[in-house]
């Protein structure tokens, strides 16, 4: 029934020096739908897939605004993501109350990760079952982090998490030289390309994905369906043109 006797709680090391529960929690991230993030020298873009389980339900919100300069995309147990989001919001608000400035992204991410670590070391807790892509912009420029249930965090130029994200990562890696100098529209185009690469079936529509971005002089903003449509259209055009060969035909300017 059990794979081994060391994998039922977070306070037991396996003889190999591993915590199986933490590794399982990281599997939970893969149960979620794909979330993609990438950054240029000025902006960070977040993109998520929506899997509405039926026509009758709304899709789950996976992108959360934390503060004007910062937002997250979650994959895995979204409810865990929401409680982390709540924590991040209150940290940012506190920072704003005391210093009247935006909280540095690195420091917030570290606090979140430290929080996550504690859940991997107490018998009465379980690790968070959610991966967070954190997109922010502060004095140091645009920043993109991935926070993992293990309490580790990594800074990325571009990254994708969630189920079937490998295809998205492959796309992101293939094109990564283009990102630093890309325009916001270009970035969004790349994000959608990556996202659509991870699709199992069907194609991307304005209802099946979400896009949000933040950058220099640009507060964190989630695109609504209508403003997403032109980007989807551009994606279709590009795919029709050269069979998914990148976002060279950048999306039209948002009106």
């Amino acid at each position: 029934m059990f794979r081994n006797q060391y994998d039922t709680d977070v306070v037991t090391w396996s003889p190999q020096g591993r915590i199986h529960q933490v590794e399982y929690a990281m599997e939970a991230v893969k149960q979620g739908s794909t979330a993609v993030a990438l950054k240029s020298n000025t902006h960070v873009v977040l993109a998520t897939l929506n899997r509405a389980d039926s026509e009758l339900t709304s899709s789950l919100q996976k992108i959360f605004k934390v503060d004007d300069h910062l937002g997250i995309a979650a994959s895995g147990l979204i409810s865990d993501g929401r409680s982390l989001c709540k924590f991040m919001r209150s940290e940012c608000l506190n920072h704003r109350y005391v210093y009247e400035s935006a909280m540095p992204v690195t420091r917030l991410v570290r606090e979140v990760a430290d929080n996550a670590q504690v859940c991997t070391q107490r018998s009465w807790k379980r690790p968070y079952g959610v991966g967070l892509l954190v997109a922010g912009h502060d004095k140091s420029g645009p920043r993109l982090f991935y926070c993992c249930p293990s309490g580790n965090y990594y800074e990325y130029l571009a990254h994708a998490i969630g189920g079937r994200s490998q295809a998205a990562r492959t796309y992101l890696e293939r094109k990564h030289e283009e990102y630093p100098d890309a325009s916001l529209d270009g970035l969004i185009g790349h994000a959608l390309q990556a996202l659509s690469a991870s699709l199992a079936e069907g194609e991307l529509t304005a209802t099946s994905c979400n896009i949000a971005y933040v950058g220099r002089d640009q507060d964190f903003k989630e695109l609504d369906e209508a403003s997403l449509q032109p980007y989807i259209q551009a994606l279709r055009d590009a795919e029709g043109g050269d069979g998914g060969g990148g976002a060279d035909g950048a999306a039209p300017m948002e009106s």
Binding site: R89, L93, Y97
Partner: protein, 244 residues
Amino acid sequence: MAAPPLQLHTPASIGPASGPGDIKSRPAWSPYDDNGGTCVAVAGSDYCIVAASTRLSTGFSILTRDCSKLFQISEQVYIASAGFQADIRALQKMLQTRNVMYQHIHRKPMSASALAQLLGNNLYYKRFFPYFTWNLCVGLDPEGKGSVYTYDPVGSFERVGYSCQGSGKDLIQPVLDNQLKAASPLVLPSENWMTALPLEQAQDLVRDAFVSAGERDIYTGDCVEILTITTGGVHRETLDLKKD
């Protein structure tokens, strides 16, 4: 305030034993100060004007000539506050924080009426160690009509058509009453109290009111900031007042 008598030497300083811990010479302190300032708000049927002087004073001293007493809470909702500046700042920051939380939850900015109630609650929450602030909460209601809420420091508030708060209140309020008073409040509900004056005339009235208050109230002066809120947006103008 009479000047203290001239001293060739200080009696207290002769006795070496009397250090600064001498009870009689201990300076008392009060947690409050009055930094003055005047705020005016006028509601019209399709606009709302809010204005405040920018002088910050203490006693007979001017601390700075440029300290805004208007504070934007959300796109079209402002508060204007006179009184103790530290309390004003605390109140503003608290409301700002609450507005962000409200937006996270409700995904829309706070309305003037929502803020009005929140402000009232928070003032009363400190009933026994009050914020020493005289506030106006100003914005447009859902129909686009100007709405002005006026407060006392401990949280009693009501919606009115116009109001004045702060050190110049005694000078300006009667003028507003004279110029703007509409039908009896007994007859009309308060959301219909707004003045019939066209925008330009109302703005002129506010300017005149501040110029006059600046003449006679030492706590009102330097500059007045006038915001006009309409559905089209917020227009800001400043008008210099006497700097003496």
